[in-house]
């Protein structure tokens, strides 16, 4: 469905320094610098896959997404989506894709979402029967109900995002480009968005490309992740595998029947957290079995679980050390 080979995208940006002297100087001389947003990225995605792009700010995730959507032209390299070259922006191509951007909306601000729906219906030339069927499904899945009649500016951020999703999917696209869709939403709304996207993907077999800062988005939604840092693709594969490679340690979460001194925990491994009757101990993969056995025998446990370290930390490690896959 999506093929990318040797993609590169560079920008020129102006540099502006603070201060009066610099302001005056900028009248006749503006230094520019070259920014490599995407630097030699290649991958391929099959139809119906859900893929997450992870990376720090300015890593190139959004740029890659926009190139695939045809909004940016690559400086070098090739990309094809659904058999089309995105930058040609052919009508047949545009009718199969959709874009949702967190914190930016295509809903007409002062009008009810229903007006935007009508407008998009005309733009995508959706036949009446299909339009009504899709509207019914989306209204039910997203619980839109009375939201459709209120002006968009009167809706809360979460309600607007639900309507945004509906508008974006009105024409039943086969490829969904989601750029930080859950940013700024509260926890329950984030969960709603995630489960909706997943349901849509499973129901219609649409391909989903998601960029996000939130690990939960990716963990809940994307079996496959691509990690981009400084424009380069440093990992492409399953999320679990990534965790295992970057942080091959596990964490034992211990709950004890009575408070225990730190000294008693230290033989097990690195103590990450210790609060009276609860503790988290980090243990390497190899030493795990022995550590568990020891904890069971020497400590007054009420509960013991083994978990992966939080994704946030994994990512932090990954970007701090620039470790490759």
């Amino acid at each position: 469905m999506i093929e990318v080979a040797g993609l590169r995208k560079w920008y020129r940006v102006h540099r502006r320094e603070p201060g009066l002297a610099a302001a005056l100087r900028s009248l006749w001389h503006r230094p520019t610098e070259e920014v490599k947003a995407v630097d030699d990225v290649s991958f391929s995605i099959a139809a119906g896959e859900r893929v997450g792009f992870l990376g720090p700010n300015g890593a190139g995730k959004t740029t890659t997404l926009k190139v695939l959507a045809g909004l940016l032209h690559p400086t070098e390299g090739r990309a094809t989506v659904a058999g089309h070259v995105p930058q040609k922006r052919e009508r047949a191509f545009l009718e199969q894709i959709t874009l949702v951007m967190g914190q930016k909306q295509q809903l007409l601000w002062d009008l009810p979402p229903s007006e935007t729906f009508l407008l998009n219906r005309a733009i995508y030339d959706i036949p009446r029967a299909q339009y009504e069927e899709t509207m019914a499904e989306l209204t039910e899945l997203l619980e839109l109900g009375e939201l459709l009649g209120k002006p968009a500016r009167q809706l809360s951020l979460g309600e607007r995002m639900k309507c945004e999703l509906a508008v974006a999917l009105l024409h039943r696209p086969r490829v969904l480009f989601l750029d930080e869709p859950t940013i700024g939403l509260d926890v329950s709304m984030q969960a709603t968005v995630r489960s909706f996207v997943r349901a849509y993907n499973e129901r219609f077999g649409a391909t989903v490309l998601l960029t996000s800062h939130y690990m939960e988005d990716v963990a809940a939604l994307c079996p496959r992740v691509m990690v981009i840092d400084k424009g380069r693709l440093i990992y492409d594969g399953a999320l679990q595998e990534l965790v295992r490679r970057v942080r091959p340690d596990k964490r034992m979460v211990l709950r004890l029947s009575r408070p225990v001194a730190r000294a008693e925990l230290e033989p097990l491994g690195a103590v990450v957290e210790h609060r009276d009757a609860e503790a988290v101990v980090q243990v390497s993969q190899e030493a795990l079995q022995a550590a568990v056995a020891r904890a069971l025998s020497s400590l007054p446990l009420t509960d013991l679980t083994v978990a992966d370290p939080p994704l946030e930390e994994v990512m932090r490690d990954l970007f701090a050390h620039g470790r490759a896959a």
């Binding site: 740029t63 926009k66 909004l71 922006r89 951007m101 009008l111 009508l118 219906r121 002006p151």
Partner: protein
């Protein structure tokens, strides 16, 4: 083609729905439109206070030019400017991507995105001005004269629209220069006088470089039966050529458009 028309209809429906939402503003803006028409007339009234002709035009004849000016200004400020300013807003907010990702021509989408229906008062005002002027002249224009004037009016709107598209295309590339459209609106004021008012260098500028005076002078001449067929044809062809050039530049600008990531 049918699809494009349907899109235009949907766009106009949305912008009229928006305008009608604010009923009080509707009335206020209508009143303001009347005020500005009066302001437009005052200089002309004073100029012709105690003389009968200026630069070869009588009061009634100049009124006709002014009438076309009022009508075109209504079109410019009522539909073209607000719609095209939306582009500038989109660029600023980063939502132009939503326009570009739609399977419809971007120029079409942005051209009708915002209409201010109270500007129809300008068209009514123009009509009243024409009626009064022809009352003073003593006879009404003949049907072929009206038809020719209408054709030239279409040409004038086309040129106006193309200039606006050109201005917006520039705003695309140099993102911060977005009040170029505002500048154009004020330069457009030149079109309130017939082109013979200008002499020499300015005359050339306003006839060929920025055909402002022509947009109002030629339709007025047509209504007065003073336009030669050759000039009319030249104007019509010129406006089509101009529109073609503007479209080409617009498409080039879209191609050059870079959106900052995030």
């Amino acid at each position: 083609m049918m699809r494009a028309l349907r899109v235009v209809r949907a766009l106009m429906h949305a912008s009229v729905a928006l305008a009608l939402q604010y009923r009080i503003e509707f009335a206020v803006e209508g009143a303001l439109a009347l005020l500005w028409m009066a302001v437009t007339l005052v200089p002309l009234l004073v100029v012709f206070g105690n003389r009968s002709a200026v630069a070869g035009w009588t009061f009634a004849e100049m009124l006709i030019v002014l009438g076309w000016f009022v009508a075109l200004k209504g079109v410019l400020e009522g539909t073209l400017s607000p719609s095209l300013m939306q582009v500038v807003e989109h660029v600023r907010k980063g939502t132009l991507d939503f326009v570009l990702i739609k399977p419809a021509d971007a120029q079409l989408l942005i051209s009708f995105s915002k209409i201010e229906p109270w500007r129809v008062i300008d068209l009514l005002g123009a009509g009243i001005i024409f009626a009064y002027a022809f009352g003073r002249i003593g006879h009404a224009p003949t049907l072929p004269e009206v038809a020719l004037a209408a054709a030239l009016l279409c040409a004038a709107v086309l040129v106006l629209y193309s200039i606006a598209i050109l201005v917006v295309s520039i705003a695309f590339v140099a993102v911060r220069v977005d009040n170029l459209l505002y500048l154009f609106q004020s330069v457009f004021d030149v079109a309130r006088w017939p082109s013979t008012v200008f002499r020499g260098f300015l005359s050339v500028v306003f006839t060929f470089v920025l055909p402002l005076a022509l947009m109002t002078t030629y339709p007025a001449l047509a209504l007065l039966g003073k336009l030669t067929p050759r000039t009319a044809l030249g104007a019509l062809c010129g406006s089509v050529a101009f529109a073609t050039v503007a479209r080409a530049i617009w498409l080039a600008s879209i191609r050059r458009y870079t959106s900052a990531s995030s």
